[in-house]
């Protein structure tokens, strides 16, 4: 399968993979923080992204506000709706990416529903993302089955393509998605949309295990993760932990300072209890 071969070949140059591997070498899981672009302003998203990176995040996921975010819960919907009402334009996501990558070492991915990419043109979007220093795309409503154009563009510009796997994914789909992904595989912890939950679903561990079984070297868990205890629980079996809603609520309630404080707290959960190198972190 050509896409899988291409993925193997390019794996070594993946910015996301490098960031996760660096964390792994330090005996810990990687922390991935999500922020919606333009919430409340482009400048503040950049400042919050830098604060994320300086306080323990290894990768940063910048979401493009979209009119029809079917995978997002109320907190993120409210934030992205406000960003759009404030006049956010898709092209500004490249300013955010460049603003963060020029000041930090974090790998910066863009999380986007697919239509804004289609509208700009998959090739042009990819080129501009690469020029801004972006690592790749997380695509919640694009499955590998529909991604021919994105395979081509991501190979051309050396971008990571992070697809999602879910508790409902069959073995066949798990294999297909793992083969198609580059950088890491995004394991959805629960059947549902984004939003803080009091406990991590037991399904998360099974999804990660299935992804590892299908050959994924880096699996990161997202959806519903909001506390250091939850980070600790996931860090024991996954290569990375993704936090979204809690950070968006921090931006909303306390701005950049609150993002910094929450990130610092979340990062205390990253060390693997079985490892020794965690002390270095």
């Amino acid at each position: 399968m050509s896409s899988a071969q291409a993925a193997d070949k390019a794996q070594t140059t993946s910015k996301s993979a490098a960031a996760i591997d660096k964390a792994r070498a330090e005996g810990r899981a990687a922390l991935i923080g999500y922020l919606p672009a333009g919430y409340p302003t482009v400048e503040q998203t950049i400042a919050a992204g830098i604060a994320l990176a300086e306080n323990g995040a290894d990768l940063i996921e910048i979401g493009i506000p979209y009119s029809d975010p079917v995978m997002d819960g109320q907190v993120i919907q409210a934030a992205t709706t406000e960003a759009l009402a404030n006049g956010f334009h898709v092209r500004q996501v490249f300013d955010v990416v460049e603003g963060i990558t020029s000041k930090t070492d974090a790998a910066v991915l863009v999380m986007t529903y697919w239509n804004p990419v289609v509208r700009m043109g998959v090739d042009e979007f990819s080129r501009r993302l690469a020029e801004a220093g972006g690592a790749g795309l997380i695509t919640p409503d694009l499955i590998p089955d529909e991604a021919a154009e994105w395979f081509e563009a991501s190979d051309k510009y050396g971008l990571d393509r992070v697809f999602l796997v879910a508790p409902s994914s069959t073995a066949e789909r798990m294999q297909r998605t793992v083969d198609a992904s580059r950088g890491f595989v995004y394991a959805v912890s629960i059947m549902g949309v984004t939003g803080a939950r009091t406990s991590v679903s037991s399904a998360a561990k099974d999804v990660v295990s299935a992804a590892h079984g299908a050959g994924a070297e880096r699996v990161c868990v997202g959806l519903g993760v909001s506390t250091a205890d939850q980070v600790r629980e996931i860090a024991a079996y996954a290569e990375g932990v993704i936090v979204g809603t809690a950070l968006v609520a921090a931006v909303r309630d306390g701005g950049v300072d609150a993002v910094a404080a929450l990130t610092k707290d979340l990062s205390t959960g990253l060390a693997r209890e079985t490892g020794h190198a965690g002390e270095e972190a």
């Binding site: 289609v118 789909r173 059947m191």
Partner: protein, 442 residues
């Protein structure tokens, strides 16, 4: 496109496809470059399960017998094909026949699809159905099917629509459904679909999403068409029986496009039949306040399918506008996008004013109050009839030699307040006037 003079059946692409096989049973997931599955991975397993269940069911004589029995003994099918002789005078004098989906139980074509999908839900062992609704027609139909088959039913409806359609909310609740007002986004039909999808992701183990139109991710477009194919099959047999020949043209209104694809199905493989879909032109396509998705939209992905879409330069969905809540959707089913691109079907916009003029004409010439959605098809049918009459005159024939079928997809009881306000029939201080001003549909 708006003034495409005639003859979409002459299109070369259409002929090439016809040589290949048939338009009528396009299986999906792709219709040319449209369709597909632009959906979260979490829902793919459910879509696969639905596809498999549907494929088995359609080949199962027992399932087909169940559908046939419900169609006949519950919905009241076959629906009539009524010749509209006095209405014809407004359509250039051609013979006009109305496919009377307005006579179905619940008052529109929607019942065909909900019964089929509710039966599939039961086959999958699902005990709960969810649905989106704009005006409330599909919500009412879904609540009806759920009551009949003993399923729990939750309907998502934009908060703004709930307020405007208070009586349809009550109707759904009388039928045992729970109506959840959607306050996110623009609080309209597209946001109700978003919220239903969020519910489905979280509850997919016991829940079937009963999508109301021939749009969305595969297998929905092909499956919803399948359940509405009965419209076209009946109409074709009825026109042959009543006139001894095929019609010259078939007309339907297009929101998502389910009633249209149902009647088109009967005639897609008949090259001599011109087929027309009429979109909601709202205040006029030049005003930006419309729902003419194919006429002015650009290809994009929304709610699971690649299709024409009303969107801005950033790919954000644009809100649509129409006097008809049932056509007020910024997307359209992918099979229609395909049929437009290859030229087999012509899609044209009809403004609110044109639709309401046709609404009144039908009321006064035939004693039938149409749904405002269907009034768009009537207005289009008038234009098509006049063109056909002109052509007939040129070739030395009479208009009465030409035949047009218009799909009367629903009845207008729900639209009485809107229409009364439009035609200034209400005392300006009456409660009904207040309701009508706010777009209420009774």
């Amino acid at each position: 496109m708006a003034d495409a003079p005639s003859g979409n059946a002459d299109n070369k692409a259409a002929e090439a496809f016809l040589q290949d096989g048939s338009f009528r049973h396009a299986p999906g997931p792709y219709f040319g470059s449209f369709g597909g599955r632009w959906m979260p991975e979490s829902l793919i397993a459910a879509l696969d399960e639905l596809e498999e269940t549907f494929d088995k069911a359609r080949n199962d004589p027992e399932f087909r017998a169940q559908i046939a029995d419900l169609n006949k003994n519950y919905s009241g099918r076959p629906s009539l094909l009524t010749e509209a002789k006095r209405f014809s005078e407004h359509a250039g004098g051609v013979r006009v026949f109305l496919k009377r989906e307005d006579l179905n139980h619940t008052g529109s074509h929607k019942i065909n699809n909900v019964l089929g999908q509710a039966l599939l839900a039961r086959r999958m062992g699902k005990t709960r159905i969810i649905a989106e609704t704009g005006a409330g027609q599909h919500g009412v139909a879904s609540a009806t099917a759920a009551a009949l088959l003993g399923l729990e039913c939750v309907v998502y409806m934009g908060a703004e629509d709930c307020r405007r359609q208070a009586l349809n909310v009550a109707r759904m609740e009388l039928l045992g459904a729970t109506v959840i007002p959607v306050t996110s986004g623009s609080q309209t039909l597209k946001d109700a679909i978003n919220e239903a999808l969020r519910d489905w992701v979280a509850n997919v183990a016991n829940t079937h999403y009963l999508l109301g139109t021939a749009a969305g991710a595969h297998p929905f477009p092909a499956m919803v068409r399948y359940f509405h194919e009965v419209i076209g099959e009946e109409a074709r047999a009825q026109i042959l029986e009543q006139t001894g020949r095929l019609p010259d043209a078939v007309c339907a209104c297009i929101g998502g496009g389910s009633n249209a694809i149902g009647i088109f199905h009967g005639f897609l493989d008949d090259p001599s039949v011109r087929i027309y879909g009429f979109e909601a032109g709202g205040d006029g396509v030049e005003t930006g306040r419309h729902a003419a998705t194919i006429t002015l939209g650009k290809p994009g992905v929304l709610h699971g399918a690649r299709s024409y879409l009303m969107q801005d330069d950033d790919g954000q969905t644009i809100e649509s506008h129409s006097i008809s809540a049932g056509l007020d959707y910024p997307g359209v089913g992918p099979e229609h996008s395909y049929l437009s691109d290859i030229g087999r079907v012509s899609y044209e916009p009809i403004t609110d004013s044109e639709a309401m003029d046709a609404f009144r004409v039908l009321c006064r010439t035939e004693g039938i109050i149409p749904a405002i959605e269907s009034a768009h098809a009537l207005a289009g049918g008038i234009k098509v009839g006049q063109r056909l009459a002109a052509e007939a005159a040129e070739s030395g024939e009479t208009a009465a030699d030409r035949i047009v079928i218009i799909n009367l997809s629903g009845r207008g009881d729900k639209d009485v307040a809107t229409a009364a306000e439009w035609f200034n029939l209400l005392d300006k201080d009456s409660a009904e006037s207040e309701i009508g001003k706010e777009g209420e549909q009774l």
